[in-house]
């Protein structure tokens, strides 16, 4: 049972990376990240893992907020457009379909100048708050 946890709380990994939650815009979930050295890859630019993490969080949260539930990521596809050093990233995610216990979301990541850095889509399994997790 997972009803002892708040489905709106942030994960430990969210805090470990220093991600911030911003106010929603329309139905978009917005999260942001100020880039630090620990986010860099072997070439000294932003690691793609940051893109994947931001999209996973923003898209999952968009489903969570629609259904007041927990989510488990089933799959995710990300296209990367920028591989360079950035100051700040903003990720906007929204749910596009929820059918039964499956939800889908799409999202985009922009840098501090509004350049489109990455986009992604993901499918999530929906676990009702208080429901039992069966993987």
């Amino acid at each position: 049972m997972i009803n002892e946890r708040n489905y709106n709380s942030h994960s430990a990994f969210f805090n470990h990376l220093g991600i911030k939650r911003e106010p929603n815009e329309n139905k978009n979930v917005i999260i942001s990240l100020n880039m630090k050295e620990e986010h860099c890859n072997e070439s000294g630019v932003l690691s793609n893992g940051i893109y994947y993490t931001l999209l996973d969080i923003a898209l999952g949260t968009s489903i969570t907020e629609m259904k007041n539930c927990f989510t488990i990521t089933i799959n995710m596809h990300v296209q990367v457009y920028e591989n360079r050093y950035v100051e700040q990233l903003t990720c906007k995610g929204r749910s596009i379909n929820i059918t039964g216990n499956i939800g889908s979301g799409v999202g985009d990541i922009f840098d501090e100048n509004g350049n489109h850095c990455a986009s992604g889509s993901a499918t999530f399994k929906i676990i009702p708050a208080g429901g039992e997790r069966k993987y």
Binding site: E38, N41, Y52, T53, I72, V78, V80
Partner: protein, 133 residues
């Protein structure tokens, strides 16, 4: 001028994000790259299992390491698809990759993560652009 495998290994060994996640390089030889991660609390999601962003990061790392061990060039990820097949909460996970197809400018690479008992917990396919200097 192509890099040597030792130079590429050193680059990854000093990668800040690799250290931030706690990923260790088990082996780094041509066509034989293996990495591992000791799952710690700071890497978990709200369900108490390893965060999807960590799975995807590990797959991306092992794919690019494996590809670079073969090509000796730099490479950048153009796209990545990840399937999350099972949750993990504790212990170690291990990742390996293999090249599906490699041209002069583009390569497709598969990556797989297994738990310490050999069960597949995630698989992914990446498309990479090869940077010839």
């Amino acid at each position: 001028m192509p890099l040597t495998i030792d130079e590429i290994h050193k680059e990854f060994a000093h990668c800040p994000y690799l250290h931030h996640l706690g990923i260790e390089i088990v082996s780094f030889e041509e066509e034989n790259v293996r990495i591992k991660l000791n799952i710690k609390n700071e890497l978990l999601n709200t369900n108490g299992t390893l965060h999807g962003g960590v799975y995807a990061s590990i797959i991306d790392f092992v794919q690019s390491m494996h590809l670079r061990s073969v090509t000796k060039t730099r490479c950048v990820t153009m796209s990545l698809t990840v399937h999350f097949t099972a949750p993990v909460k504790t212990g170690y996970i291990y990742a390996e990759a293999h090249i599906i197809s490699k041209g002069h400018k583009t390569a497709f690479v598969d990556g797989v993560i297994k738990d310490e008992y050999g069960n597949v917990v995630s698989k992914g396919t990446g498309t990479f652009k090869l940077i010839h200097v």
